[in-house]
């Protein structure tokens, strides 16, 4: 199994090497880990789509062929020679040591944390191995995403019962990439390395030291990984725009696919993200389509396949009607990508989308709330109590509110509106989802409470950037009026 994991890692690195020289070595090295798992997920998904059973031999062969293909292509295009600098090698080596160190440590020291959902995810993985997409028991893709079950299949193919050692690697990747992106953002405003380092380091420590996040190091679930991929998708978009470097955009669809495949409701967040960034008009329409369409096609295909399933399991949450609404939403957003050049949209709608989206969601919540006010009020009370007291978030949201109050004066930084629009939309979306289900509850494992892990990294990134921007009295000219990427 470890040989297979090494193979996946090498495949991830081989793919990220395409961007050597264009993107930072550290990002390429760490992202290589995640790209490996994303490729495994896509391989597995395609195999089960065409009814090929998941077997270790098949998967190893497929990954080997892909690895050989990528290396051959890079050799032919001389990228391997030109792109592989000493720094990149060192980064690859360093990340390999840490990554496999984490895997081996947790492999021999099982610290799994699990709830009933975790077991359902493991059972879904068993279902994938036993019968592909045809038989589901406690949960199915109508209730839970497929990404974690696919990751859980890796050790099953090699005779183990489930994966207890892979989730810590995702945590390590998150910490590394969060610190990397936050520092990169703060660097534009804060000259002092010490202050910058302290700001980013302390924020990361604050987040990881919260009970709930700490336990997510080994928790077999979907929320932490959702937060990871969502954050990476936004960070890639953010720096793609800021640094005029389209190479960042290549990772956006990959991260969005991971995000969309993790939980059933993630598609809503992803569509909001796309709409808000399309609204920003900071990316050319042609590039926008290249960035977002692959994800939209994937998500459409995934839900179309789910629509054809009739699993009838205990925790199925999506009805055919809801799936059809999602499909329509995905198709509508795809259509918007082709309509961005129309004068009406460009002049009136797109520039206001960053607030129209949360305002629209708020209007829907208000209408639903008007019909069932007690439900809405009960959810809000429960959510607030969970976020600040019972949700095992420690001081995280207290600090967020404190810093938000501290920065409640006019501070400008690039793409602030987009990030703010996303954050507001997400919180309103939690209220909206709450109106469509049984009421939320106060305990830490409530889905609304866990879903905060999707947005928390972005909120912290936003606050770090806000703090950094606010620490300089006047805004650098270079940050005003970005040209179109």
């Amino acid at each position: 199994m470890f040989l297979f994991l090494i193979e996946l890692f090498l495949l991830g690195l081989a793919i990220t090497t395409y961007f050597a020289g264009k993107l930072p070595d550290f990002f390429l090295a760490v992202t290589g880990v995640l790209v490996g798992y994303l490729v495994y997920f896509m391989n597995g998904f395609i195999l089960v789509l065409v009814d090929v059973p998941l077997r270790a031999s098949w998967m190893a062969l497929l990954v080997s062929l892909e690895l050989a293909g990528v290396i051959l292509h890079q050799g032919l295009t001389k990228r391997l020679v030109s792109g592989m600098t000493r720094s990149l090698w060192l980064h690859y080596l360093g990340v390999a040591v840490v990554y496999f160190g984490v895997l081996v440590f947790f492999y021999f020291n099982n610290f799994f944390f699990a709830t009933t959902d975790s077991v359902y995810l493991v059972v879904m993985a068993r279902n994938l191995v036993e019968s592909g997409l045809s038989k589901w028991y406690f949960s199915s893709p109508r209730g839970m995403g497929l990404f974690v079950p696919f990751i859980q299949t890796i050790p099953m193919l090699f005779g183990l019962d489930y994966a207890w050692f892979i989730q810590p690697a995702f945590m390590a990747a998150f910490i590394a990439l969060f610190v990397f992106f936050a520092e990169r953002s703060a660097r534009r405003f804060i000259q002092s390395k010490v202050m910058r380092g302290l700001l980013v380091f302390l924020t990361a420590v604050l987040y990881v030291s919260a009970d709930l996040v700490f336990i997510m190091t080994t928790y077999i679930h979907t929320n932490f990984d959702s937060g990871l991929f969502f954050f990476l998708a936004i960070a890639s978009l953010y720096f793609g725009v800021e640094e005029d470097q389209p190479a960042w955009f290549v990772f956006v669809p990959a991260f969005l696919m991971g995000f969309g495949a993790l939980r059933t409701e993630n598609v809503i967040t992803a569509l909001i993200l796309i709409l808000i960034y399309v609204g920003s008009q900071k990316i050319q329409s042609r590039i926008q389509r290249r960035v977002f369409l692959p994800y939209l096609i994937f998500q459409f295909g995934l839900y179309l396949r789910i629509l054809l399933m009739h699993p009838d399991t205990y925790s199925d949450q999506m009805s055919n009607g809801q799936i059809l609404i999602v499909l329509a939403g995905v198709a509508a957003v795809a259509a918007v990508l082709y309509l961005t050049e129309t004068k009406f949209l460009r002049s009136f709608i797109l520039p206001r989308l960053w607030w129209l989206v949360p305002a629209g969601l708020l209007a829907v919540v208000s209408v639903l709330g008007a019909f069932n006010f007690q439900h809405l009020l009960g959810n809000l009370q429960v959510n607030l109590k969970a976020f600040f007291v019972t949700g095992n978030w420690g001081a995280v949201w207290w600090v967020v509110v404190a810093l938000a109050l501290l920065f409640s004066f006019r501070i400008q930084f690039p793409q602030k509106q987009q990030l703010l629009g996303l954050i507001l939309s997400f919180f309103i979306m939690i209220a909206l989802l709450g109106m469509l289900r049984v009421p939320y509850h106060e305990r830490w494992f409530d889905s609304a409470n866990r879903m905060l892990a999707h947005i928390a990294p972005l909120v912290l990134f936003y606050l770090i950037t806000l703090a950094a921007a606010a620490s300089v009295p006047s805004q650098p000219e270079a940050l005003k009026g970005k040209k179109l990427v």
């Binding site: 610290f111 699990a114 028991y137 205990y314 420690g394 109050l405 606010a470």
Partner: protein, 481 residues
């Protein structure tokens, strides 16, 4: 034409003293100073002093400076303020806020022959004094304490607040005298011996320890300064003295007029009134006070860091460090049972994973045999159902059962039946999570949708498909269709 006024050190100092005095008085009289934890005493008083000072300096001080033309006006206003203060203290009887002090209670039965009964003594915090435990059970009659004619009862205790005493008479007429610190009360029963309740005040001085003696003294000084100060401000600002146009010169730091803090000052003023009213109307809950004070302080900090950007990161880092410290504290001192932490797991099996989620028996059984129970019909004898603590509803929910029914059959297997069953193939076992023992199921003859009967042999529990029973005849049990 506007003229720049010189900042007056004297008026600055006086306003600071007034702010501090008012803050201490308000904390003591409104926010329950003596019931707050020590650190909160300082935080609440400090916050109030800060906000009041900012309000005074922002809104009052410029008007004082504008009216500071003549000395005679000041003398006149001070004189009038003293008069107002004197009248105030004459009209309203003054008592300090109850301090923590040693109060003395003495009840003397001054009757000729009637006994006096003490029904109860209620301490601060509505806690009733344990009469037999304190004065001895031999003086009790039922649940009342008796005091014979000419005798007395004495009680001394350190407390913050007064007590309520309820006394009755066993015969009448009867009289009693109560001494509470230096206060004396006479009670009499003429026509009946019903209980009379008397509230003894907490503001009497008693015998306080040195720190509380000082606090009591500070209370008096703060109240006096507050009334005098407010009276002077009212008189000085309301009298028709000529006013000069002036420019506010009071600065927090160089180039930072207090005007920049107007919004946060006003918000804090609202918070101050809000908390005051809240504390007056309801029991002042500590966390709500803290929350509001936190918002107020953060808004003041916001105005500061907006002006002094070089401080901003330091403030942010401090907030982050405080957050991390709170996380660490909560990790070491979990506030509730929901606290989770990484735990070493000695086994890597699916069975152990499922066990650790704390599932109920029905859930655990379903997780173990999910492939076989799906859409099946389960048949069980009621005593076995009770023994296994299975929940019909949960089994239905998880496995989408066709049916679940109780039947009355001989579910306990004999030695020979078990031996014969075990010979039929490779049985898959799964633990019975809460009751102990193991389930047995034969995968090669078990299919989703089958009908399973539950049997037991000690702590071995068999899920046997009906077809197997009928085809093999290893179990001699007549089953209904």
């Amino acid at each position: 034409m506007a003229r720049k006024q010189k900042p007056s050190k004297t008026s600055n100092l006086l306003l600071l003293v007034l702010s501090a005095s008012l803050a201490l008085s308000l904390t003591m009289r409104v926010f329950g100073f003596y019931t707050l934890p020590h650190i909160m005493k300082g935080i609440v008083t400090g916050y109030l002093a800060l906000v009041l000072a900012m309000i005074f300096f922002r809104f009052i001080h410029p008007r004082i400076l504008a009216r500071s033309g003549r000395k005679s006006h000041k003398v006149l206003s001070i004189g009038m303020a003293v008069l107002v203060t004197v009248f105030f203290f004459i009209l309203i009887p003054y008592h300090i806020t109850p301090i923590r002090t040693t109060h003395s209670l003495k009840i003397v039965n001054t009757s000729d022959s009637a006994e006096i009964s003490v029904w109860e003594i209620v301490l601060p915090g509505a806690e009733a004094l344990d009469l037999p435990g304190t004065f001895g059970a031999d003086q009790m009659s039922g649940n009342r304490l008796l005091i014979s004619p000419g005798e007395s009862l004495e009680y001394t205790r350190e407390m913050a607040g007064g007590v309520t005493v309820r006394l009755g008479a066993m015969a009448w007429p009867a009289q009693a005298n109560i001494n509470w610190d230096d206060l004396a009360y006479d009670l009499a029963w003429e026509d009946d011996g019903d209980a009379i309740a008397i509230q003894l005040p907490g503001w009497t001085w008693g015998s306080p320890s040195l720190p509380y003696r000082l606090l009591g003294f500070m209370n008096i000084v703060a109240d006096l300064v507050s009334v005098l100060g407010v009276a002077w401000l009212a008189v000085f600002l309301l009298l028709p003295f000529p006013e000069q146009e002036g420019e506010e010169r009071w600065v927090l730091w160089e180039q930072t007029p207090l005007r920049a803090f107007t919004i946060s000052i006003v918000v804090n003023l609202v918070i101050l009134f809000g908390t005051g009213i809240y504390a007056g109307l309801f029991e002042a809950e500590l966390h709500i006070l803290l929350l509001l004070l936190g918002v107020g302080i953060l808004l003041i900090l916001r105005d500061l860091v907006r002006r002094y950007r070089k401080w901003l990161l330091r403030v942010v880092l401090t907030v982050l460090v405080m957050g991390i410290a709170v996380n660490g504290y909560l990790y070491l001192n979990p506030p509730h049972e929901l606290h989770q932490t990484l735990t070493f797991r000695p086994y890597d099996s699916y069975e152990y994973l499922a066990d650790r989620i704390g599932a109920r028996n029905a859930t655990y059984l379903s997780i173990g045999y999910y492939q076989y129970l799906r859409g099946s019909t389960l048949v069980i004898a009621e005593p076995l159902y009770e023994e296994l603590d299975l929940e019909e509803g949960r089994l239905h929910q998880l496995n989408r059962l066709q049916d679940f029914r109780f039947e009355n059959y001989e579910y306990q297997l004999t030695d020979s039946e078990v031996n014969a069953l075990l010979q039929l193939g490779e049985w898959s076992t799964w633990p019975n999570r809460l009751g102990g023992g193991e389930y047995y199921l034969l995968p090669e003859v078990s299919e989703p949708g089958a009908t399973y009967h539950f049997f037991s042999y000690g702590q071995l529990y068999f899920l046997v498909p009906s077809g197997l029973i009928e085809d093999t005849g290893v179990i001699d049990v007549p089953l209904s269709d």
